[in-house]
Subunit: 375 residues, 2 copies
């Protein structure tokens, strides 16, 4: 069996699909974003749904980050249990989780999102502790939120909230995640600037009555690429800690910034089709894909694992399909000749957030196992 089966200077013997994280790269990505936030005088509240790991979250803590974003109350509980005491749940509040909300609000500074006065009213009835709330604004993604010119709906939320002094208005929050699908930096810039302008207008409009409100934004593409954050007070990017091929394709990162790779055993080869079958499928990667430069959809690029991590991909070999446990690599002649059954190849994933979630754990190159919040 090939040398590939061991990475990290013999510290780890890989026998099954294993998600590797280059901790040094991840920490560099965190520092890059943290320093950018400081430079622009922005509150840095990273989204922890990407690593979903209390151990990886310490990498943020170690450089002074103490505010977090999460995507569910369960995830808020998970991080609150490890000393994170200022958390925004960036998801339209699920009023059915009122017990969890009360229990969290008793212990930590919790911020939630409202997109309607109905949710305010339902929550308000049973809320026992003070809680911060943002009004979620839809600046064009068309997923959820109130449109920025819909003052009627915004006022309805504020009027309903005003009846309960436990509800503290924190400001306007947006996630213009349509930047993920942008075709150019210009397009990202255009979405970013339009969104910030709309949010700034809203803040200006309401700050007479609410002088402390802020504007919170923060998809990874805008936060990575933009240099003008006028109008924003807080950023909440998540994916940038690891990046991935989707982010590389929209220009948010170079390939050497991608901090995760899946190590997958080679189980079969097909000479005629120049295909390599790996143990590594949809249950490991999720089924998120990216579009290669030639327009073909793929699920990952193949990289050579080495003693200190992995080489950059030559982009000639890629994962062309995934079923539950199988992955099929369309291999370059070079890779096809080199890779033997029993070797382990690396795969840069299309979408790191979903891959981490599927895997439930990851390993640093030094062989340390990091746990991920369990489903």
């Amino acid at each position: 069996m090939g040398d590939f089966t061991r990475v990290g200077r013999e510290k780890m013997k890989i026998t099954v699909p294993t998600l590797l994280v280059d901790k040094k790269k991840a920490i560099e990505n965190i520092k890059f974003m943290s320093e950018k936030a400081k430079r622009h005088k922005l509150i840095f509240r990273p989204h922890l749904k990407t690593p979903q790991s209390v151990q990886a979250a310490k990498w943020y803590k170690e450089i002074g980050v103490n505010k977090a974003t999460v995507s569910s109350f369960r995830m808020a509980e998970y991080f609150a249990g490890e000393g994170w005491d200022d958390i925004t749940v960036a998801f339209p509040v699920n009023v059915l989780e009122i017990d969890r909300i009360n229990s969290l609000a008793e212990k930590i500074n919790l911020n939630i999102l409202f997109t309607s006065h109905e949710a305010v009213s339902l929550l308000s009835e049973k809320l026992k502790f003070p809680i911060g709330f943002f009004i979620k604004i839809d600046t064009g993604m068309r997923r959820s939120g109130i449109e920025p010119d819909n003052f009627k709906m915004i006022d309805d939320v504020l009027n309903e909230a005003n009846r309960n002094n436990k509800l503290i208005f924190k400001g306007f929050l947006a996630h213009y995640g349509h930047t993920y699908k942008a075709k150019s930096t210009e397009e990202i810039k255009s979405i970013h600037e339009k969104s910030l302008l709309e949010l700034k207008r809203l803040k200006d409009n309401y700050k007479r009555n609410f002088p402390d409100i802020i504007v919170s934004v923060g998809d990874t593409p805008s936060c990575s690429l933009m240099d003008n954050f006028d109008g924003a007070d807080e950023i909440r990017p998540g994916n940038f800690i690891f990046y991935d091929l989707q982010q590389w394709r929209n220009g948010s990162c170079s390939l050497d910034k991608i901090a995760v790779a899946m190590a997958c055993p080679v189980v079969a080869k097909n000479e005629e089709r120049k295909e390599i079958v790996i143990y590594g499928g949809g249950v490991h990667f999720s089924k998120d894909s990216f579009v290669m430069e030639n327009g073909v959809t793929a699920f990952g690029y193949i990289v050579n694992l080495n003693e200190s991590g992995w080489d950059l991909p030559d982009k000639k070999s890629y994962v062309s399909s995934l079923s539950q446990e199988h992955g099929i690599i369309k291999a370059s002649d070079e890779l096809f000749c080199k890779a033997k059954i029993g070797d382990v190849v690396g795969v840069l994933p299309a979408h790191s957030c979903m891959t981490v979630n599927c895997m439930g754990r990851f390993h640093t190159l030094e062989g340390e196992e990091l746990s991920v919040m369990q489903n």
Copy 2:
């Protein structure tokens, strides 16, 4: 908050995305397939990757099933720990897991799959206990396996295996899963019959030297729809226990046979787009999709949850997109008017196997929680 928040006669209060299983339907699906196997004198070796649950696996045991198929050695260990002692790992053998293979082969009747003489040779070196093996044949899916006319490769496997008397040749195994994408029952029939003919020829060719070999097949579409299994000795379908919308679309089941539905809280509504935002995204459903009758891709149909389970979908409301935690429903006027924030709606999933894997647990309508093998 609506009545929807409680299902199963008040036994279960749903507050977060919850995978419901209609145990009665699941058991009926199992009985249907088991009886079909008996009628055709086929060994029934269901694929347990769909429920991935030792508790649900008991439903098979209770009607006398004692042979299983799984998709990884880890899954084999999981079921072996609960008394399953005759397991086929239907995946090209991953030789790196030799320690696990030896430990399993010591305890249970374990069958593995070979697709090349290289894998035989690598495994053979370190194998300590007798093990059964099938040669995986590719009858047209083009994922893995040896093509049925490639006698050279088959003989290479057999010759290599012949050098180790712990390796017991069990026969030929195929998974013609391209039936999943078939557009008609005729197309499924054509794939099924062509595959069986090829496999039967292989068996006839080798049975002089190996009189006990069998032919093992079994994707859910063929097993559900076909009535001629001449040439097959064993079937290994998995998905049929729960079915899903992908199977419904290829004609393998009617909508009333689908035995799982995700209960999802309603968190927001958009009047203009007639969209409902649910708590329920890619981390719950996976991102597998199906194509509706009008050619549009969707991630699930909406169903009304009722006291004894769920109504059939009217197919007018569907999940149009999924992000990590959000699902967006394109709602009929009726559903849009009726569904309120704080309600719970049901969603029939596109691909039940992946959904079960994402969720990590499910609940019967009687409120019993069933665990799923953890990642």
